[in-house]
Assembly symmetry: C2
Homo-oligomer: 303 residues x 2
């Protein structure tokens, strides 16, 4: 009975896989979520907790995988928060995407309460989360890394140790999100522009993915457009959120980000047109709507 | 003495390599350029022609590798142009980047004069041109393809046959340039944003190239910034030109391209700040100038 107690708060597409990966590697995992159905589904893999406090009680490691900094704050320091339930010296692995400033503030508050804090945003998608094969962009104290290491080993294939202060991991993640968001919007603009020019967009995909115009996102997202499948692998609203954080950081640091700003507007238009919860390749549907183009459609389409 | 006569007009970084590749594969190649030094240098590989007409006389295949449609028009149909010197039935391989509309017009005029015309923009850079390993995005009649095939085999590693009408190859190239231009501008924005956030930008390069924020251009251009080397592998002015064509096409076809438009403005600002002839990664120097950041510098730097 020397299993380490871990808790995962947030059993969405990423958190669920991370919790399952921890259980698979021998942790005694408690999981909880505001979505009761997800909690119930987790019962097959570990302890289905009815509250954050219940999940956190006795946990040496607490993984927080919620939507943003505000939710992370509530999870940790709200009236029903984890901070009061965690044993002193437990480590918080904070994986929601947020600004460096928010990560620093949350870390300071956690440390003031005798907890360790690892700023640990993630990359890789739901499938890699389930396989324990995420990329983790982490920063924090040596003590936080040491305490978190066994859990990181269970959840991540690639761990970047980016510095000894919380906020650095968050900053790396936001630079990645800036690029990822711009590339999705550019892919959607380019493929619909190609359609407007009368090109065979399947052939465009073949040519571009072998050429200097390629990006990870072009290669990954354009197939959704070719198949007309806008069921959300990752939603438009993720990028209105993440590019919104980039723009907040831009303002805070007095650094202009005009390309990211324009991409943000395209995600915002797509969300405003009612597609916020659809796949982020829906930006292509916005261009197509505006210009009256017919993109491929599928019975799997949400729109 | 049954070598096929070919001519290459434009012995810049791409054309020179293409001419040399043709000579290596057994063509009797005449080359010319407005730059006398380039013509002289070509004498070691083939016939150094003093005029377009001299180069074109007797050529079965004429490769035009100049800057844009206007120059291509002058090369073919100007007072000293190739069209009058080429034998009937010769094929023009037109490789300058231009709008589909321009490619269609040039093809129609060439065909009216009894010439074949292949719309054949290229991708791959100077080194691949020298190795005969370009990617060619071609469209045109079966007769034009048949006549051009031996030369294409000598110059290209990958030949995309994209349709039977001139203009289609040009359209594919412009879709690629839209993405390439946006990705360069985004790479420059992201890496300087990272610098503003105090991150180790060498580490950012390592993390991003292994993450979903990667693009072919990020991977290729950011090393120029890390090394502070802005000697032009490909110049800023290439993208003010190419994204300018994208925006012209956007207007002509009534199709909005806001992301490309924003990227165009960043290249235009960089050119306006005096860096038009420097490497296109100089867009990062513009962001750095604006925000007072120190990027790496090198004795190889132009700026």
């Amino acid at each position: 009975m020397d299993k380490t107690n871990a808790a995962v708060i947030g059993l969405g597409s990423m958190g669920f896989g991370m919790a399952v990966s921890l259980a698979r590697k021998g942790f005694d995992v408690a999981g909880t979520d505001v979505n009761a159905e997800a909690v119930q589904r987790f019962a097959a893999h570990g302890r289905a907790a009815r509250s954050i406090a219940e999940a956190a009680t006795g946990a040496a490691i607490l993984v927080v995988v919620v939507v943003n900094a505000a939710q992370t704050r509530t999870v940790l320091f709200g009236p029903e928060g984890a901070a009061n339930a965690l044993p002193k010296g437990a480590v918080v692995i904070s994986s929601a995407t947020m600004s460096p400033k928010d990560a620093e503030a949350l870390a300071a508050e956690a440390e003031a309460r005798g907890l360790l804090y690892l700023d640990a945003p993630i990359s890789g998608g739901a499938q890699r989360a389930a396989e324990g094969a995420l990329t983790v962009l982490a920063s924090g104290s040596d003590a936080a890394f040491a305490k978190a290491q066994p859990a990181l080993d269970a959840m991540a294939q690639k761990l970047y140790k980016l510095g000894d202060k919380p906020g650095i991991g968050a900053a790396f993640k936001m630079v990645n999100q800036l690029l990822a968001g711009v590339h999705i919007a550019a892919a959607c603009e380019a493929i619909t522009f190609a359609k407007r020019l009368g090109l065979d967009i399947g052939k465009v995909y073949e040519v571009i993915t072998a050429a200097a115009g390629n990006s990870w996102m072009f290669e990954n997202r354009v197939p959704h457009i070719l198949e007309g499948d806008y069921s959300p692998k990752s939603a438009v609203d993720i990028f209105t959120k993440d590019l919104g954080i980039v723009l907040d950081m831009s303002r805070d640091t007095k650094f202009p980000t005009p390309i990211a700003g324009q991409a943000f507007q395209m995600f915002m238009m797509t969300a405003a047109a009612g597609m916020g919860r659809d796949d982020d390749a829906s930006v292509a549907r916005l261009y197509a709507q505006i210009a009256g183009l017919d993109l491929p459609s599928s019975i799997k389409s949400n729109g």
